[in-house]
Amino acid sequence: MTDSLMDIQVLETPLSVEKCTAFVQDPAAGGTVVFVGTVREWTKGKRVLRLEFEAYKPMAIREMTKIVETVKERWEALKICVHHRVGVLEIGEEAVIIAVATPHRKAAFEACEYVIDTLKQTVPIWKKEVFEDGEVWVAAHP
């Protein structure tokens, strides 16, 4: 889902902070907030070798678009970019980048945090942590 004001993608290739930030640049923007979610090496004391993400892609794009529409209305965001990676990710690689530009900075912080919080709750994407001795679908079990 991409137009001149929003760029929402699920990608199999490495993400770029530069690209996402550049997309949301706007002469009316006073603040841009970017969230970068990377693959952590340790989770609950166990070493993660790599992560595997899968997405129900068309619905993921739809759900992300809903979030972005809410943000545009509620925080008067000028431009928003959400890029989520899928496939196998190594430690330190970017899994998600969210960039939001608003006329005033407070709104950009709130809006960007809303996007990542809501994305984690509603967007059909799944993450499997691969350890030396097994693998776990994150958040599946209590």
Binding site: H84, L119, W137, P142
Partner: protein
Amino acid sequence: MEIKVRAFGIAKDILGFREQTLSVENGETILEFKKRLLSQYPKFEDLVSLAFAVNEEYCSEDFVLQPLDEVVIIPPVSGG
């Protein structure tokens, strides 16, 4: 009637398939479908949540399935 079932994440591991055509009762609701799934695959009971989507939208438990609907089984999401 027949419906298409797709599964992602741990749901795919529990079912042992990613995509399959299944026979269900005519006019079966998501709730009835879910109950049958849970009794056939008790491991679904252990999950934090279990949602369903039809036509790329989350659907409520009283949603009535139509022939050839594609039902997507959505275990707890963990993107980001």
